[in-house]
Symmetry: C2
Subunit: 337 residues, 2 copies
């Protein structure tokens, strides 16, 4: 491992993704990416008695499937890196508490998949772990209840609001891999706060952080957007994506629009599904990465992918106290060998 | 770095603690360790308009002091690993958002200092970072409001309840160190759930995890309790400490009582201060470690210290849903060279 520039870590090129899985809820099952998911629940209760337990069950399911697809057992996984949006990250801890795997809890809001997988990759690349797993989840119903209003209130949503994905994604990585999907570089972002206070406009709160991390990565690696098959952001949605383009174009003279897509714009069909500005939540980028993106890398369609998951670090309490919404973005460069 | 046994990481012996700081509230300032703190606030409002912002201000203060004592500036710190008990870890993100340091959010409840510092050490030991910082905080008033009742309700506390410390601790570590306090080994724990559901008895919920991690560390390293000057647990308090002794003695035939102490029993004076079963909260073990313990290592009194911070991974929601309280414990072996 070596540091490139100020922020980017170049790994040894031998940490590979050996198993991955995505599971989703009913609405995600009606979206354009459903075919690539490993499991779609017939209803969002998932056989559990609360929304929070449903979310935990989803995370457990994605993680268990990823471990199985990697050809591993729980005892083969040296460490699990996981987190989620629920207070005290309870989806992750309750969803993995019976797996008997050393657990490193992480919090990056919707950036959690890049944070967890990137941290896991530093561990596997440095002999801290031989095999490691990363996972995260989100659930529309538990998120609405916690961050906005319980569904029973029938609240109206503004046009800039995004729909929290009911989904979970998990990946298992291992060192000493020569072929397949390789984690080549990792970048951890700084917190950016431009003073946005509208919790129904998360895309705008996260876009400055995405712009900062993307700019730093391209600068550290001395590369251009065209050098990649795909630059994928986590869940900026429609509003945040437009703002990201504008920030990068006007301030940095960087145009990513030709190679960019956003998980929040991919997971749902904006014409047929009523999701306002797009998808969001930890599970959005995690499930898109661990289905569509990794599938397209494995079948040779994508060779070099930059994945920047974005997070908004407010809490319901800080929002009620009228504080601004700090954003963050962490990135991973995947290549196919 | 190499793995010892199933769980323990032996670092290269060159990651050193180069700066540390602890700050505390009024009650902590009346306790037996106050003299080792870097700053005691005259009142728990800390000049802020909310308890949550007071907690963030404390974390910012401890971190800034630790960076300064390390002889560093913010731009010298490659990465910050931090987390706390507040929903969405908002004390850490709001307390560090203006420092311009890449931020890796972590969640380990009261185990956060061992989790953050241990993860940071893996990064510095592996060239992932040259210099890194770890920090955490807790505040009695924000914790009571979030986990139990707002103080204004005047709720009564049970004898097994612990008092959340109003404190923050931060440490700066760097590679290529030959002398001073060295992070020699790190162990990340598994989640242990023995079915405890009483949120006023956190010590009992965390003791099984502490026993598991301590047992695994001693087994991986083939050492005995007497090989260490001090085995320090995070915040088991009186009830949890007694249970830890019993679990280790009866199940594993390990007696740590001669070399053990608990941060929750050290921070306050049980005779003079009304803290029931002792101190708790992320800031408890972090501030004790970053004041009394590191001070005693620096002055030569302690040469080899095992630090196991313990966390209870429930949330107010899971407690209301009558789910059990999963516990976790992460450990660090510090030696003085």
């Amino acid at each position: 491992m070596e540091r490139l520039g100020r922020y980017t870590l170049k790994l040894s090129g031998t940490t590979g993704v050996i198993g991955y899985a995505a599971v989703g809820g009913k609405t995600e099952g009606e979206g354009p990416l459903a075919g690539g998911f490993d499991y779609i629940y017939p209803d969002d209760g998932m056989g559990q008695s609360t929304w929070e337990q449903a979310e935990s069950a989803m995370l457990n399911n994605a993680l268990t499937k990823a471990i199985k697809k990697a050809g591993k057992k729980n005892e083969d996984i040296d460490m699990l890196f996981a987190g989620d949006l629920l207070d005290q990250c309870s989806s992750s801890s309750f969803g993995s508490k019976d797996l008997n795997i050393p657990f490193l809890g992480m919090y990056g809001a919707c950036s959690t998949m890049a944070l967890s997988l990137g941290t896991a990759a530093v561990f596997t690349d440095s002999e801290g772990a031989y095999t490691a797993a990363a996972a995260t989840s989100s659930h529309f119903c538990s998120a609405e209840k916690q961050f906005r209003f319980p569904l029973e209130y029938g609240g109206q949503r503004t046009p800039t609001a995004q729909r929290t994905a009911t989904a979970s994604g998990a990946a298992v990585i291992e060192r000493k891999r020569q072929t397949g999907i390789i984690i080549d570089k990792v970048i951890f972002g700084k917190i950016c706060d431009l003073g946005i206070t509208d919790t129904n406009n998360m895309g705008a709160a996260m876009a400055p952080a995405a712009a900062d991390t993307i700019k730093n990565f391209l600068s550290d690696t001395n590369t251009k957007p065209e050098d990649y098959d795909l630059i994928l952001t986590g869940d900026l949605g429609k509003v945040g994506t437009e703002l990201l383009y504008e920030l990068l174009q006007t301030r940095e003279n960087i145009d990513i629009s030709k190679v960019h897509n956003d998980c929040g714009l991919m997971l749902f069909d904006p014409e047929k599904q009523d999701v306002h500005a797009g998808g969001s939540g930890c599970g959005c980028s995690a499930s898109v990465l661990c289905s569509n993106i990794f599938n397209r890398m494995e079948n040779g369609e994508l060779k070099s992918v930059l994945f920047f998951a974005t997070g908004a670090l407010m809490s319901p309490t800080t929002a009620l106290q009228k504080l601004s919404i700090p954003g963050i973005a962490h990135g991973i460069h995947f290549i196919c060998k």
